[in-house]
């Protein structure tokens, strides 16, 4: 059987300062901790040497955080070299795989960027979030817009031709006007890729505490309708500037879609390395130890064992696991969750539908041996009748345009007519069968209205 490709994710859990809205696993730390962490991470990568996973073809690498760019460039280069050797990546292949790294403005110089490039990085993702200094301050970011510009120029000057800029909508104090301005400024810089998220106030963040009690003093949050308009504007403006939306929050010039993230949405196998990193390998999801002290001491101990070579037995036990799956033993707290067929079908739907290309019944059948309409027929027909899902063939790009609901107010008038639902559903099914058959290529995807309420749609596939 042909081995599945593998993507690698390296987590760098450090930031100069934690942002007020951030719920990712990250914190600020000192240089000694950085060093210890890099040693541990090198050890973790090395633990896969000779394993079955290391035989797989590496498709993409992503170094995320936190702020990976806070580490010295040499550290990044060292990590990549380790990966290259453990996973048997030839020089020829090295240049062809997508190797991304996240970067925050104000943490790099032109020289550092050059070193990243030499180390193997070929895609940079910069966390701008907003081009308005006022908004950046409210977010608790350490940079202003000018700092970002400097960083962006350094990245370009160092020769990076695949750059993403992260933007955020629905920020405290943000208006349609200021958001549009941020978008325009970014478009003017012409990055290859733009991610536009809306701020989600997550539990456990300072923002959550702040806005639970009103929080107007910290800048009012845009209302739902404004947020929705921001989403629509993003799509319109970026489409006008030549960026295609390929996922709910991601836009790219043709051919510059982030391959690594597509692996997540297409449920390809990926191995997460580092603190709290997640993996999906052969239908099992894993999660690494999340406590930094535990993580560091575990890898320190293993390093020493290796040097002394005292506990052969333990090592051999370990290796029988680590040859097939991510490191998993009683000392290293890795959670694991074996996915059932239902889990996988649900994931297939809610991850696949995030992409504008949607999901195909053929692929569904190939994965699960079941007919998509037999499993999810009711849900699909319900959302088809509500105009939230649509079938499209490969030629007509229904989902990329607003062809379905050009009226931005359409959701207001959206309603189900009880008398007609049944016949409509039957019609939808019949037309689907007639037009698409089961052999013909056809894909199910979100309409623009569907994107706005995608969560509520995904719930039905669980």
């Amino acid at each position: 059987m042909e081995q599945k490709d593998l993507s690698l994710y390296l987590h760098i859990p450090f930031c100069a300062k934690k942002c007020a809205y951030c719920d990712f696993l990250s914190a600020s730390a000192d240089k000694i901790t950085y060093d210890l962490y890099i040693q541990s991470l090198l050890g973790e990568i090395d633990a896969y040497r000779g394993s079955a996973l290391s035989q797989r073809k590496v498709k993409t690498i992503f170094i995320g955080g936190g702020t990976p760019s806070i580490l010295p460039a040499e550290a990044i280069a060292k990590l990549l070299q380790k990966i290259k050797s453990v996973f048997h990546i030839s020089d020829k292949d090295w240049g062809t795989i997508e190797i991304s790294m996240e970067m925050n403005p104000g943490t790099v110089t032109y020289e550092k960027c050059l070193q990243y490039r030499d180390g193997g990085i070929n895609r940079i993702s910069i966390g701008l979030q907003s081009a308005c200094d006022e908004e950046l301050k409210l977010l608790g970011r350490i940079h202003d817009y000018q700092t970002f510009l400097d960083t962006f120029q350094s990245v370009r000057k160092a020769g990076f031709e695949n750059v993403n800029v992260d933007l955020m909508a629905a920020l405290p104090g943000q208006t349609i006007h200021s958001y549009t301005e941020s978008l325009q400024k970014v478009i003017a810089l012409s990055p290859e890729h733009i991610s536009a998220y809306s701020l989600i106030i997550e539990e456990g963040t300072p923002f959550f505490e702040r806005y639970r009690e009103g929080g107007e003093a910290f800048g009012e949050l845009p209302d739902e309708e404004t947020e929705r308009r921001m989403y629509r504007i993003t799509q319109e403006m970026l489409a006008g500037a030549g960026y295609g939306r390929y996922e709910i929050s991601n836009y790219a010039r043709k051919g510059r879609e982030c391959l690594h993230n597509e692996v997540y949405w297409r449920r390809g196998d990926y191995l997460g390395l580092g603190l709290g990193a997640s993996s999906l390998i052969d239908h099992i999801r894993y999660k690494n130890e999340e406590n930094l002290a535990q993580y560091l001491s575990y890898w320190k101990e293993r390093q020493q064992e290796k040097l002394q070579d005292t506990s052969r037995r333990k090592n051999s036990e370990r290796s029988c696991h680590s040859h097939i799956v991510p490191i998993y033993d009683e000392y290293y707290q890795t959670e694991l969750c074996k996915l059932t067929a239902e889990d996988e079908m649900a994931e297939f739907m809610f991850l696949g539908l995030r992409m504008m290309e949607g999901v195909s019944p053929q692929e569904f059948f190939a994965c699960f041996g079941k007919d998509l309409m037999d499993v999810y027929g009711n849900q699909i027909e319900k959302h088809l009748s509500l105009g939230l899902l649509a079938w499209k063939d490969d030629e007509t790009e229904v989902c990329h345009t607003d062809a379905y609901h050009t009226d931005a107010q359409s959701a207001n008038t959206r309603q189900v007519d009880i008398q007609h639902t049944d016949s409509r559903q039957i019609n939808a099914r019949q037309s689907y069968r007639k037009e698409n058959g089961y052999q013909q290529e056809g894909r199910l995807c979100l309409t623009p209205d569907g994107i706005d309420v995608s969560n509520a749609i995904f719930v039905d596939f669980l």
């Binding site: 999660k287 991850l351 509500l386 959701a411 207001n412 309603q415 995904f458």
Partner: protein
């Protein structure tokens, strides 16, 4: 145990207005008579339902036996029966009183006589009990025991000059109360050699012992092996165990004889065989006629109760059966709703009773319930001369078949400090009350009398009363009779579909207002869907109010990368779990609490 001298037994209860310190006094008595050490003493021993402790009220009558060594050097057996104070539980009180020979009346030294003080005293006097007063909370700064004594003598007409002045909370004067029990409460009478006659005043179901019957032995005696006969149901059983009540436990003994209060277990399997109020006698040597039981109580308030999970219907039925065993005021019969499936139409004494039953079902029986809007019993006179008693609005005949309808009216007495008379009268007028008169109890307090339609007070009247009197008004009512009224059925349509479980009967004049509030409330309760949902209120097919739940516009997970997937999936699962707990009506998911929302149409004035 040797035979107990009847003259050394005291069977008594404590009656009081709610919050006047009845349960606290009971605790002190138990403590003082050494039944429990202080360490074992948990505040309010007799309120052993979690619910009672939390709400600070007594729902079920509880009984406990203690031994008191009096100043005369003799040991007395006290059977103390704690009783509920709320008007909804009058029936419970009445049952307990039948087991007693006397009562302690607890009156708050600051508040004096309240509506339920009177109601409970009259109930006790009705049962021929000797009542003596105790003035509690004398340590309060606002205490005025002399005034309260005077009030007791004037209003109730019982002697109060030597009433013990106590603070149950701080243990002051408890000894005096115990002595007064010995001296003022008569010893029971009854011939231990006569044929057995015992009054069932309560019963509980125990999974090991079966039905445990609580009774007061009026005549004769009962012991292990006696074959007993329940006179009303005709059921026979052999006694397995008799005993009396420790604090929170059953203590077996040799026999129970005339004058004693205790329990009997007799491998009785069917809970229906032991009716509260029935007389237990010796099957071999029966008494000539049963003891007078209690008058049957009629439910005043009805509502539908449905299991949230339809598969739990049999469990709900069993739970109701068991609750009814020691709550004869609870009535139920099966019914079916299009929206809610199989359930029961249940009858209650009042709204608090309803709430308590609902909470007990949920807590003690682990059932998730959907409860429909409570209603009263209407009399519907049809054009063909037939009369039906309507407890479920869905069964209202077609408009054209109805000649007229009658609704229950209650006589209400509201005790209030004079400054709030105006606002309370205004409230009563709004609720279609008919003013009967007012009596000044003393300078600052008055008793207002109104006739009020019951359906106007079962929703939020009590809350409104409290809020308009800053908590000072107290309220008591009793059913007066039926009166013709212009009543209509208000239907609620969700997404153009009538939801039977949301229909209710309302006076024609308030139909519009109620309908409007109901729509507003449902708009709050029903989450936004992916499509627009009209909510309409209709009377006889005519729409009288409408609200619209706008379609959901925005619900996006902004990011979803490798590390987020498991977490985001959990979020979606949580969202789905929430949906599962809703009722599907057509395409609309309605949260279960929406069915109770009619209860909370409170006017925030």
């Amino acid at each position: 145990m040797s035979t107990i001298d009847q003259s050394k037994i005291r069977n008594f209860c404590i009656v009081a207005h709610i919050d006047h310190g009845k349960s606290t006094l009971a605790d002190r008595i138990i403590e003082m008579t050494g039944l429990l050490t202080e360490r074992e003493m948990q505040a309010q021993v007799l309120d052993n339902m979690d619910l009672e402790r939390e709400r600070g009220i007594t729902i079920k009558a509880q009984t406990v036996r203690t031994v008191y060594k009096a100043k005369d050097g003799e040991e007395y057996i006290f059977n103390l029966i704690d009783t509920p104070g709320h008007v909804d539980f009058n029936y419970e009180v009445s049952r307990s009183l039948a087991a007693c020979d006397g009562a302690i009346l607890v009156v708050d030294a600051a508040q004096g006589i309240e509506a339920q003080t009177l109601a409970n005293v009259y109930l006790a006097l009705d049962h021929n009990l000797d009542v003596f007063p105790v003035i509690n909370k004398i340590d309060l700064p606002s205490a005025d025991p002399e005034r309260v004594k005077e009030e007791i003598e004037d209003v109730i007409g019982i002697e109060a000059h030597d009433a013990p002045l106590i603070s149950a909370k701080n243990g002051i004067g408890i000894e005096d109360v115990l002595e007064a029990v010995v001296q003022k409460i008569p010893a029971p009478t009854g011939d231990p050699n006569a044929p057995l006659a015992a009054l069932i005043f309560d019963s509980v179901y125990d999974s090991y012992k079966g039905v445990i019957v609580f009774c007061r032995i009026k005549e004769g005696c009962v012991k292990r092996g006696t074959q007993i006969l329940m006179m009303a149901t005709g059921a026979k059983a052999d006694v397995v165990e008799v005993g009396y009540f420790g604090a929170g436990q059953f203590i077996p003994c040799e026999e129970l004889s005339a004058g004693m209060v205790g329990y009997i277990t007799a491998s009785i399997k069917n809970v229906r065989d032991t009716m509260v109020g029935d007389t237990v006698t010796d099957a071999q040597n029966p008494c000539s006629e049963p003891l007078p039981g209690y008058k049957k109580v009629n439910s005043m308030v009805y509502c539908g109760m449905y299991p949230a999970d339809g598969a739990k219907y049999p469990e709900l039925r069993d739970a109701l059966e068991k609750l009814q065993l020691n709550d004869a005021a609870l009535h139920y019969e099966p019914e079916t709703s299009i929206a809610l499936g199989f359930g029961f139409r249940c009858g209650f004494l009042g709204l608090l009773h309803l709430e308590i039953i609902q909470e007990r079902l949920e807590r003690e029986y682990n059932l998730d319930l959907v409860t429909t809007a409570p209603g009263v019993v209407y009399k519907v006179y049809k054009t063909n001369g037939e009369m039906i008693e309507l407890t479920n609005p869905s069964n209202l005949p077609d408009f054209s078949e109805i000649d007229h309808m009658e609704e229950p009216i209650v006589s209400a007495e509201i005790m209030v400090t004079t400054e709030f008379i105006g606002s309370i009268m205004e409230l009563c007028q709004e609720r279609r009350g008919v003013y009967l008169g007012m009596e000044y109890m003393e300078e600052t307090r008055a008793l207002i009398k109104y006739d009020l339609p019951l359906n106007e007070i079962i929703y939020d009247f009590f809350d409104a009363l409290k809020s308009r009197s800053r908590g000072y008004a107290s309220f008591d009512y009793e059913l007066k009779g039926y009166q013709t009224a212009e009543l209509v059925k208000l239907d609620i349509l969700v997404n153009r579909e009538e939801v039977d479980a949301l229909s209710f009967i309302v006076h024609k004049d308030s139909a519009y207002e109620r309908g409007r509030k109901m729509c507003e409330k449902l708009k709050e309760e029903i989450p936004r869907h992916l499509f627009e949902i009209p909510i309409q209120a209709a009377v006889g097919g005519k729409i009288v109010a409408r609200e619209t739940i706008k379609a959901m516009r925005k619900d996006v997970l902004a990011k979803c990368y490798g590390g987020d997937i498991t977490r985001k999936k959990k979020l979606l699962e949580k969202q789905k779990e929430g949906k599962k707990r809703m009722r599907q009506i057509g395409n609309v998911e309605i949260p279960q609490k929406a069915f109770m929302s009619v209860l909370k149409l409170d006017d925030k004035k």
